[in-house]
């Protein structure tokens, strides 16, 4: 049985009629056409599909789209949109510190890390590694990702 849903993504409401088995990741990509959210493993392991639900990072591949009704979904597209079209400071830090190569994993890392940086948490390198343990990157060996977060935290603190 199909179901009518209204899902808020980045402040916009998407009203659609969907099959309840549709994953939130597929709703975001195929219905809302926001393809910044990437899908790697589709079983909760890789973190590429990480979005924020009511401000908290969650996997969008282990949630049904219908479960997001009544909640606020935020995807990577919101970052630059919230910075007037410029790169968000965290994205800028990833850019400068070479925190990405192919970029497939990057949206997931950004959505995981953004609330931590925004809260002004003073994390050391070890703690940063703990925070990104749920995101896999096959290119960077993580060094530059950690560098990027260190840079973003420094700049945030210095503001």
């Amino acid at each position: 049985m199909k179901r009518d849903v209204e899902i808020e993504i980045n402040g916009e409401t998407y009203a659609r009629t969907i099959d309840p088995r549709m994953l939130l990741s597929d709703f975001i990509r195929h219905e809302a056409r926001l393809t910044g959210t990437h899908v790697g493993c589709e079983h909760g392991i890789c973190g590429a599909c990480t979005i924020q639900l009511d401000g908290e990072p969650v996997r969008s591949c282990t949630m049904l789209a219908a479960q997001a009704e009544g909640h606020r979904v935020r995807t990577v597209e919101a970052l630059a949109a919230g910075s007037g079209g410029e790169l968000h400071p965290l994205q800028q830090a990833f850019h400068e510190a070479h925190g990405l190569q192919c970029g497939f994993c990057t949206p997931g890392f950004l959505m995981t890390l953004e609330p931590l940086v925004a809260r002004g948490e003073a994390l050391d390198r070890e703690q940063i590694r703990g925070e990104i343990s749920g995101n896999l990157c096959r290119c960077t060996s993580y060094q530059q990702i950690v560098d990027a977060v260190v840079l973003a935290i420094e700049r945030h603190g210095g503001e």
Partner: protein, 292 residues
């Protein structure tokens, strides 16, 4: 990697939930955090006809501080347990183990009850709840029942819950004065299911001797394993390094962990013994194990 078709129901009350479960029996499956169930659906390893989502049943989530201890609603997010000051103050073992459960993004969705009902022998919460003598409250159209954690787990991914029952809460009793706790596990990568581990709860009498002990092992069998032999050695002893070593050796004498690509059975057994030794030593050392 997409879920098979199912009928989706998201009731807002416990009564509706129980009615749906009574109606659909084993064709229905409860969806809580979805962090184990949705991957199983995506792999098509589970094909329920009806999915009963309990996320909109508000009274199932929350932590209640009662005179006898904490009542943790089944649908309480694992991250809420992690952040709870009541849990940190009253049940430091839970505060300690929760950080080992998966990753932050998964704990933001995964629930306490889901982890218990999923009954993975390598999961931390079942092992901790068994060590803490917690009891699980199950509800159905037939009424409510209370099940001791130790009786709850039947085998790998199987519990005593009937098809029409939903887990509604876990009661974690207050620990007696003089109780200290510790948890240790070894995983290849932080957040992965561990190769082995142990939870230890020790109560010392005024003279410093151990008056009560609970030792439970992670990934040691098809359910959380209570190490009675180790507990016997600990009770009555002043627990020092030698006693800890002896008790850890006793703990693993009768277990037969199953080997896999991450390590064979013997290796896993030595991992569990080492974790058990460390946890006992830490729980016994003044200023080391966390006071409960």
């Amino acid at each position: 990697m997409k879920p098979p078709p199912f009928e989706y129901r998201d009731p807002e009350t416990l009564e509706e939930t129980l009615a749906l479960l009574a109606e659909h029996g084993d064709d229905a499956k409860i969806l809580a955090g979805g962090q184990s169930l949705i991957p199983l659906l995506n792999f098509r390893l589970a094909r329920p006809e009806v999915l009963v989502d309990i996320n909109r049943v508000r009274p199932l989530a929350g932590i209640d501080d009662r005179p006898e201890g904490l009542r943790i609603g089944a649908a309480t997010r694992q991250s809420a347990l992690e952040r709870s000051s009541q849990v940190a103050a009253q049940q430091p073992l839970l505060a300690e183990v929760i950080r080992y459960v998966a990753h932050a993004q998964i704990r933001n969705r995964g629930t306490v009850g889901g982890s218990l009902a999923h009954a993975d022998p390598a999961a931390e919460l079942p092992v901790a709840m068994t060590a803490l003598d917690a009891s699980l409250i199950a509800s159905s159209g037939r009424g409510e029942r209370r099940i001791a954690a130790e009786e709850f787990f039947v085998s790998h991914l199987t519990t005593v819950l009937e098809d029409d029952e939903v887990l509604i809460a876990v009661d974690v009793p207050r620990a007696p004065a003089g109780t200290r706790v510790a948890f240790e596990e070894f995983a290849r990568r932080h957040g992965d299911y561990a190769l082995g581990g142990a939870a230890v709860v020790l109560t010392a009498d005024a003279a410093g001797a151990c008056s009560r002990a609970r030792v439970t092992l992670l990934a040691a069998g098809d359910v959380p394993v209570r190490a009675h032999a180790a507990e016997k050695l600990l009770v009555g002893a002043v627990v020092d390094a030698a006693v800890a070593r002896e008790a850890a050796a006793a703990a693993v004498r009768d277990i037969e962990p199953v080997g896999d690509g991450h390590g064979d059975g013997d290796y896993r057994s030595s991992v569990i013994e080492a974790m058990c030794d460390r946890a006992i030593a830490r729980a016994a050392a003044p200023g080391e194990g966390k006071k409960a």
